[in-house]
Amino acid sequence: MSFTLAVFLGVFLLLMLGGMPIAWAMIGATVIWMLASGEVVFLAILPDRIFQGIDVFILMAIPLFILVGELLNTGRITERLVHVANQFFGWARGGLAQVNIGSSILFSGITGVALGDIAALGRIFIPSMVKHGYPSAYAAAVTASSSIIGPMVPPSLIVIIYGATTGVSIGALFAACILPGLFVGACQLALVRLQASRRGFHPVRADRSPRALMGSAGAAAVPLMIPVIILAGILGGLMTPTEAGSVAALYALVIALFFYRTLKVSDLFGVFSRTMGFSAKLLIIVGCGAVFSLVLAIENVPALLQSAIHGSDLSQASTLLVANLLLLLIGMFLDPTAAIILFAPILAGVAAEVGIDPVHFGVLMILNLNIGLLTPPLGICLFATEEIAGCGLGPLFRETLPFLLVSLAALVLVTYFPALSLWLPGQMGLL
């Protein structure tokens, strides 16, 4: 590693771990690198790189998907989905915890961001579970753990960022993430079932007559058309992800304003304003990431990593193991968006070198980084649910540990059985 590269990475880590916003830490490290290496001539292209990093058609899907989530949350349509999940998942032991996970699976098709899931569902489920006798740390642990399913089941913002960064087909990635996402959800449901018997958690009482179930399914069909529109539009080749996002947002606007009438015109300014703020927080990292990756390219980091992999003569299975460990480590410290911007182009190149399918690797990276949201020291989902539950981070992590282990076991299976990821996109002719 050259001296200037060491300075660059050192300054970036110092600034980022020192609490500077990640986007500015990238720019700050780049400017220091330019001064240290005498490459000040590159300063002039900083604005152009930021501009070009954001000026990408596919990235327009991000504010549009966020808009869909905001419209449904503000229009209280999320609560309807929770009611449906209650009827379909709540009959089992540990009913409310099962409903929590089931809602994450249903809701995941709508926000695609783990923190969005917690913001919307955590405030509903955590107090409700505590009221029904669940320890608050357990309620928070179930909410945090199930929130990582959201970014796996389409539409997912992380998938769009991964596709835009690496050039892998977003349609194929969407299709490839579905089964692994559902698999993680199924593993968590099974764990709750086991824990419920041991800890005496009861089912949720609700009218589950065929008529009630039919009515409930009918009511849910309206908002659940959103993931259908997005998936059918993209996978059917009718729309780009950006266009699918805009059609889904239009549909969400119409159902919230005119069908359910739970959204008022006066709410719209707040909806658009929050969409702008959240999009900007993600997209400025993408823009500044374009600057950061320029330095990595000039310092020849991708080639260095590739030659290190070649030199170590690892098999594909060992490379997958090393990649998983590395990604878990990255996920422990970095937000998934930043992690993808920084590492996906390099690691995807290395994975392709050893013959790992780019779509399969994309699924692994996304799943790993999502699991990182549950791990200390920077498990953002743990912090977010602890803030709602007020149970303390220690008890919360102890309750989260079994869910973390189950998710890691699911990760191992997804890693070594590529068919779990690749079968569906293969069937759809997307590979």
């Binding site: 609490g19 500077m20 500015w24 400017v31 002039a44 501009f51 805009s246 304003s273 900007a280 400025i284």
Partner: protein
């Protein structure tokens, strides 16, 4: 002054998001409903995305809302933490001023070039960089002054 400026930027940012939504939805509706496509919608929507992102960046700078990792910072002793936060703010201010200045140069450089679709001078979309980084710098100065005065 800062709050008023923030409200104006939010207003513009909301208009940009509405424009992105409208243009992309219009693109699909016109294509499937009327069999027509317009050459300008995609390009215009992309430029609005840049403007909305940078407007939101300035707003989130004022709200201190950008994605960061505060865990180590929060564990520092209060005195050291306050000094470190001010140092970070000064460094960020220098970066914003630098980006605003480089942005003006880039805008002037790009003025002679036109966009591929609408033949618009590229200085117009590029103006977002100097404008919003300058506004972000104003917000950091406001924060530094507030911290200097104390609670």
């Amino acid at each position: 002054m800062g709050a008023k400026l923030e409200r104006w930027i939010v207003g513009f940012g909301v208009a940009f998001i509405i424009a992105i939504f409208t243009l992309t939805a219009m693109q699909v509706i016109m294509r499937y409903g009327f069999g027509k496509t317009y050459f300008f919608t995609e390009e215009l929507a992309r430029y609005f995305l840049v403007w909305a992102t940078l407007a939101g960046t300035a707003v989130e700078t004022r709200r201190n809302g950008h994605i960061r990792i505060p865990i180590i910072l929060e564990r520092l002793p209060r005195g050291i933490r306050m000094i470190w936060i001010r140092l970070l703010d000064v460094f960020v201010l220098v970066l914003f001023v630098l980006l605003a200045w480089l942005g003006v140069k880039s805008m002037i450089f790009n003025h002679g070039q036109e966009s591929s679709g609408m033949q618009m001078p590229l200085s117009i979309p590029f103006a977002a960089i100097p404008l919003f980084f300058a506004l972000s710098a104003v917000f950091v100065v406001e924060r530094l002054r507030r911290r200097h005065r104390g609670p």
